[in-house]
């Protein structure tokens, strides 16, 4: 083998020497220059290739990184609920989403709320359009555990007879600072929506389903200035909860300082008197709370039962107590059927009428016709609503009311509501039977 290579090398050496003898110096120089150029081009190509290889390697690494991220996303696409449907019903595909960089956006401040515009035709009165309510809620989230929220009500009202124009009234319906202390306790302070039953926290027109409030809610304060602890304790891992709320507030006061029955003022006593003195109108604050059990059977099927109460002084002299108790219940039988109601009983002493015991209750049922699975135009956007409510004021007047209503869902938050109310009372019938049409929007 070595011998063969030596012979071949000698042959090539002889051939090379004979070729050199035939090439001129100029040809050799031209050839040499060409070889140098080719060598330079090869080096440039090698550099380009090295850069391409580096770029490719980065692309591969980035691709692997994205594949890992995609692998970490939840496997099944999350469902999106439809109007009258359930979020847990059907799968809807969704694109994987890169998390939003919280440092680049600020949505800590938001405005939610509701607006209602109404047409009312009361018996014996002329029909009229009115701004029933414009109620924005301002939210500011300060970090993970702090939330400030304030709700306002804008109301328009005619000026006094023979005075032109109208008056715009802005009411602060609630304003509270909430601090989520841990998984079981949230501390709230301010002008609180009182957890007496559940209605005070669900009064918006697009939540209420009927244009009017239940009569019995007139026995209770909607909000009061004070402090509250609230939260929920899971009872099992299937969603059953024990809700609670404990609060101390200034409590109801007397409109004129006396202890006459007609002076009871459920909405006053905010801690700052008209003479700029910081003081409660009576000697002791009012306290109360609510406890409720929420039992879900499955999504959209649940039952909630709650008990709540509040008690304290109400007249300036502090000689009489005011107290109230509420039993509330709500039942959902699917996404289309809801039954709820409250029983309210109050009790307060007075100088002129002695002990007064007002009470009332209401029961409301709603059914979305989408549950019938009928193939008729528009029927899946309709909901039928009925309510019966009663109020006995404890001073001899008893009023009962039947309300028959219908809702057409223009969207999931824009509702056209209509109701006719049949009122029966042994006292002055104000406003009497009436037709209410309302456009409600929740935003």
């Amino acid at each position: 083998m070595v011998r063969r290579l030596a012979v071949a090398g000698c042959a090539l050496g002889l051939a090379g020497s004979s070729a050199r003898a035939q090439v001129s110096q100029s040809d050799f120089n031209a050839l040499r220059e060409m070889v140098l150029k080719l060598n330079q081009q090869v080096q440039e190509l090698q550099q380009t290739h090295a850069a391409d290889a580096q770029t490719h390697q980065k692309d591969v690494e980035e691709l692997q990184l994205w594949q890992q991220k995609l692998g970490q996303l939840p496997a099944p696409p999350a469902p999106v609920p439809a109007v009258g449907g359930t979020a847990a019903d059907g799968p809807v595909s969704s694109l994987p989403r890169a998390p939003i960089d919280e440092a680049t956006v600020n949505h800590n401040f938001m405005i939610l709320g509701d607006a209602e515009f109404q047409y009312a035709k009361a018996e014996g009165q002329r029909g009229t359009f009115m701004l029933a309510d414009f109620a924005p809620i301002f939210l500011y989230r300060g970090g993970e555990n702090i939330l400030f929220e304030a709700g306002f009500d804008f109301i328009l009202q005619n000026n006094a007879p023979n005075a032109p124009g109208y008056t715009t009234t802005v009411n602060l319906s609630f304003a509270q600072l909430n601090y989520v202390a841990n998984d079981y306790v949230t501390f709230a302070a301010g002008n609180l929506l009182l957890p007496l039953g559940t209605y005070s926290e669900r009064t918006a027109g697009w939540l209420n389903k009927l244009p009017d409030n239940p009569l019995a809610r007139g026995l209770l304060p909607g909000a009061a200035v004070g402090a509250e602890l609230r939260g929920a304790v899971p009872v099992n891992d299937q969603g059953m909860l024990l809700n609670y709320a404990v609060f101390g507030v200034n409590g109801p006061g007397s409109a004129d300082g006396t202890a006459n029955a007609g002076a009871l003022d459920l909405g006053g006593n905010v801690g700052l008197r008209t003479d700029n003195m910081v003081a409660n109108l009576h000697g002791a604050p009012s306290g109360g709370g609510r406890v409720a059990l929420f039992h879900p059977f499955k999504p959209h099927y649940d039952f909630e039962l709650g008990l709540s109460t509040q008690a304290g002084e109400w007249d300036n002299a502090g000689t009489h107590l005011w107290s109230a108790g509420v039993v509330d219940a709500a039942l959902h039988l699917g996404a289309n059927c809801e039954i709820k109601g409250e029983y309210v009983r109050s009790r307060y002493g007075s100088d002129d009428l002695g002990m007064i015991n007002p009470e009332g209750w209401w029961l409301q049922a709603g059914y979305k016709l989408a549950g019938l699975n009928l193939d008729l135009p528009g029927i899946n956007n309709l909901e039928l609503v009925g309510r019966y409510d009663v109020l006995a004021d404890g001073m001899g007047t008893r009023t009962s009311r039947y309300s028959a209503g219908c809702i057409y869902y223009l969207t999931n938050t824009l509702l056209f509501e209509g109701a006719y109310e049949f009122v029966h009372s042994n006292g002055p019938r104000i406003p009497g039977n009436q037709l209410l049409l309302q456009l409600s929007y929740g935003f």
Partner: protein, 116 residues
């Protein structure tokens, strides 16, 4: 000295105690709880426990349907951005007394399907 209580001296009490023992024994046998089995050399039968049915863990979507529909028609997750949902869910957590762990699962569901 006052004599000690004795069944021998009180035949009626003895009869009553016997009757109670008999009735109690029959009742226990009927209930199948207090009568010990006869002793044998056979090994006790193996107790086969039924396989525990795995409990379904609620998802964020289910919690969303469970809680939000209690008060209002469900909102589409695409109606808000992920950051907006964070503020809204904290608002609803306080308003509807949602336990924070459940609220976090609902928030995760809403953010993953949010509008932007």
């Amino acid at each position: 000295m006052k004599p000690h209580f004795s069944l021998q001296r009180r035949p009626a009490a003895a009869a009553l105690a016997g009757w109670l023992t008999l009735v109690g024994g029959l009742g226990a046998a009927a209930a199948g709880e207090a009568v010990p089995p006869a002793r044998t050399n056979a090994p006790p039968p193996a107790v086969v426990k039924p396989a525990a049915k795995p409990r379904h863990q609620l998802t964020g979507a289910e919690l969303y349907s469970m809680h939000c529909n209690r008060c209002h028609p469900e909102r589409y997750p695409t109606e808000r951005t992920a950051a907006q949902w964070k503020t809204i869910v904290l608002h609803m957590q306080v308003r509807a007394n949602l336990p924070p762990p459940q609220a976090r699962m609902i928030l995760k569901y809403l953010q993953e399907n949010s509008g932007r």
